[in-house]
Symmetry: C2
Subunit: 157 residues, 2 copies
Amino acid sequence: MDPRLDRDVSNCSIARTLEVVGEKWTILILREVWYGSSRFSDFERVLGCPRNLLATRLRMLVEEGILATETYKEPGSRSRPKYVITPKGMDLVPAVMGLLQWGDRYRADPEGPAVLARHRACGAHVDVQVRCERGHSVQAEDIESVPGPAFRMKPAE
Amino acid sequence: MDPRLDRDVSNCSIARTLEVVGEKWTILILREVWYGSSRFSDFERVLGCPRNLLATRLRMLVEEGILATETYKEPGSRSRPKYVITPKGMDLVPAVMGLLQWGDRYRADPEGPAVLARHRACGAHVDVQVRCERGHSVQAEDIESVPGPAFRMKPAE
DNA sequence: TATCTGAGTTTACTTTTCCATACTCAGCCA
DNA sequence: TGGCTGAGTATGGAAAAGTAAACTCAGATA
């Protein structure tokens, strides 16, 4: 990964993920889904996000298969849509927990974080860790990035 | 975490992290730092990012303590600044690896990812995992989010 | 002394995104 | 029939991002 190399960066998995969840509000919408929100009005109230953006982001998340719509019916009201997370959306949890963890460490209030993540089965605190296939815990500086099967050079100009 | 509760969301660690790294280009700049870039011209060439935004983002990352400037000197040239990652920046690795992993799974080219992460010591593939303090591997659906010490309700209007 | 280079800054313009607010629409209910 | 409610859509102005090019600045080189 020599920086002087003209790597083609168009198939980077980080950039491609950010195309889906890199817009303002998108990750915060997912946060609210994990915390239990499912209705348009829930998201609007707790996030304070403009309604048109909220509608656009929700539609995009559904198109991408990260959320799915179901219907709910309050007694005395007609059926309305709600948003639930899919397995594909669940797979974003490690990334978002990584953001949460960094914020807890460097930007939390003096008294601590606003939300704690616990293992439902044992109640212990949960965090994200980098590990290798052999089970070793890996420090960030011990990660080596090497070209993969889809590695490409920039086409000549 | 009842969605009907009017949680005060202003001290969320996810939102606070996104204030720092949630802008376009910022995470991609960090990606390039991990891959070995350190100079203004490296970032500009590989990212294709506008120079004025690149300067703004680099300045912000240095102010936040995620990058630091050092000087380098090529023989026959004067000393110039370069950007290196700090321990605070290294702590963003789990979050960014989470994004990488999701992109590898759902948005990679058919032949696979463009970059592979290996454990320098043993060469095995590296990934991010959610685990609890007791060492259990935790599935996303087994995470329970509970109010922490800085949990607050929205001030009454 | 003049020129070149890398690392920016500045400026000017276009495009996109964001935000706030108003409006619509469908069904329930009085 | 008319009002109410949740879930949107429409719109117009403000802010941010993108593009392109010129300008600066310090030291190295010719």
